[in-house]
Amino acid sequence: MGDTKKGVISRRGLLQAGTAMATVPFLGISAPNVLAQGLSKSPTKVLDFMTNADVDKAKQEGQLVFYCHENEAGTAGIMEGFRKDFPEIKTSYVRAQTGALYSKIIAERSAGRFDVDVIQLSDLAPAFDFQKKGGYEHYVSPETPAYKDDNLSAPHGYFFWTGVDPAGIAYNTDKISAGDAPKNWKDLLNPAWKGKISCKISASGLQFVQWYALRKLYGDGFWKEFAKLQPHAFDSRVQLFDRLAKGDDMLTAIGEYPAYILFKSRGAKVEFVAPPDGMVATPLVVGAVNKAPHPEAAKLFVDWAMSKRGQAWYQTNPNLYYGSVRTDAPPMPTGVKLSDFKLLYPTDWNEYAAQSPAFLKEWNGMLGL
């Protein structure tokens, strides 16, 4: 009950991954290349981490194009971290919620456009899909040993978990007293919250995870009851907490811990509840993109992100505050460690991914789309 569920790379998963490798994806690498890449170079040290990228070449390329699901400040924050360490590489980014971001990159690639170097998603489902389609570059970083298998793609080298975004419940302390506040997920279904509760839009990876996880826990009826509350849906956690802080909403059903920390530090009257049944969390996955315009810079970024210094940046930047899954990661700025939370991950990521159309249909329907 108490421990973190291990991400499942079951025998089935391994077999599937194997077939993925053998498939000729509609873009990019044929099977033999997959094996050839990532094995030849010996790692070099740059700053304080190891990389298989050709650092000089990366600096020559001089650019990195990053697609990210984070809000503006968060994405800019990530780029700022990389740029500080590698000022010769100009960064530029596109940010959109995971669903939109993924649509965009697929549309571009299907039209023969390959403008992206690295992509960060907040949902494993599109990551699997992208891997299947051969969208990721196969690149095994020398930083890989610092991660558990659960937090890496199968096989290694396509994407990794750059952080975890845990979420619980958050409420406005002026509007709701501590006594009335919800203690567990089920308390969300109180009719008193009707029209006063917020959640995220269907393009959000975290929202998908929450839907899946709580459905598994409490059955189909949970979300149908939730729909009766007529929740307000938003794109980003900042919007959710902005409204919470101002009192436009009394509580939010999907309060992300990083956002809570940020707003609390600004003096907002918000409080966080970590439901005993478990917090939902989505992995935030980063991977280099196949046929990138700046391949060495892409690899360098992956190594940087995986490294201790990159992870420290992700953990401490106020716009990010991710929980790191690196085995040697320090606690989060608040002193809390990721393992202190009980996190509800899907047990079977593939089954989870397959539920996506059902989620979209139900969630959109709930919102009136």
């Binding site: 503006e72 649509s103 571009e108 007529q230």
Partner: protein, 566 residues
Amino acid sequence: MTAAAANAGPVSAQKLAGYGVAAIAAVLVLYPVFYLFQAAFDVGDPQVRPPTAYGLDNFGNLLHYPQILLNTLTVSFAATVMAVVIGFLMAWILARTNVPGRRVFEQLMTVPYYLTPLLGALAWSMLGSPESGFINQVWRATGASGHIIDINTPYGIAWVMALFEGSVAFVMIAAVMKSMDPSLEEASQIIGASRLRTMLRVTLPLVIPGVLGAAIFVFAEMLGSFAVALVLGSPNRYYVITTAIYQLIQQYPPRIQVSAAMGVSLFAVMFVMLFIYRRIVTGGSYATITGKAFRPRVADVKGLRWVLFGVCVLYVLASVALPVLTLMFASVQKIATAFPAADNFTLSNFHAAMSMNAASSALGNSLILGFATASIGIVLMGLLAWLIYRSRLPGAGLIEYIVMFPQAVPRLVFAFGMMWAWLVFPIPIYGTMWLLLIAYLTVFLPLGVRTIAGVMLQIDKSLEECAQMCGASWGFRTRTVTMPLLLPGLIAAWLLLFIASVRELGASILLMGPHSKVITPAIVESWFGTASELTATLALIQTLVVAAAMVVLVLVTRRLTAEPVD
């Protein structure tokens, strides 16, 4: 033989310019529309391009979204009614009564348009949110409970739409009032009819066709409105077609086909409305009517003057002063509230806005794009205006239709088609500033051509014909007679295009790429992803830029419309 040779030379220069520019316009407009229609009729696997099967299923699927269609109609209708009532009232007050300060108010009436509906929506969101809205906070401070206005309702949305997108109703109705021959009313009064009776029996019937035309035009515009519904409607789960399309294509997998079907349906309705409008008002042509402008009789309303003055002030307050002040107020607070504590004030939002890479580069991009769009635009649209309204080349009528086409398509929907169209284009302009430039030039065709045509038509044909009779070739007389006379109008058109491209949202939000961010979508992004105080700051900065351009515009056009001697 010499006579025949004389036929060939100069005419072909004209024809070349004319048909060349017509071809460019046709490609710009029709190429994306083709892709839009293709997507709407695509019933095959959405991931496979080109489409495998065509059919009407997507339109059938629209019936699963009755609420969205209803919402769109409700909001558009309500907004149109409000806009026309306000427009009529203000037009009456400013054109027919002796309220003091009329000229100033007339100028102020167009300001809300330049402030952009996005800014209006953001400001009114801060003013009228049921919980955190300033007006409601003030209301509660008086001891009452609950809220006095809720801006997130359909009527709230319609209200903001009417305020910021409806000022065109005022312009059109005022024009109708100014073109009315006052002697018609005088005849009625000489016969002995009272002022009220005159207004009901003479004035109103004369004005109604014009008002009706304005209503239809405004309704068509409201159907395609995006920014207000996005900011005020989406939080409350209230979707209209444009915001629904925006959400539907943001997911994975994106609901391209049904979105395209929605877009095409919206386009069809707008097209029909604009067609009706054309028939009613202009008898078939978009050319600005250049008839004599009468000076309508100004009624002395005595004591009512100050009441009406108050009405005008109220309007300016609601549409200009209050929103701008609200944003300014919010931008200097950490967490915006109506009654901030002393420690709530900060300038950090401005720091953040300036240092935010996205914001500063977006602003820079917008300025560059504004210059480029305006400069290329006046050449392209000037040639098109000449081609359609002045040359006698065959096919001019068809070109006019094509040029006015984008008016009938909501920006977002058009951008949707452009996204696909230019994605597959062999030259890689997708995701670059070039794409935005092309998009702007396309969607601003109606605006630019109409403005320049209006100026062009005011130039009496005989001025150019006389140059011809003096022996000047087309090039010579265009350079020495037409262009200098057009110049003030061209400057005005340049400024209009500049402002329009800086404030553009619907197309930009879909077509931006990593290196081509622009300011108005950046404000929306900010609203999504940062605190509203920072968003307010960005919005203010954008407003400053537009305001500066507007001031220049006012100064230039004031010189333009000065009465000529004799």
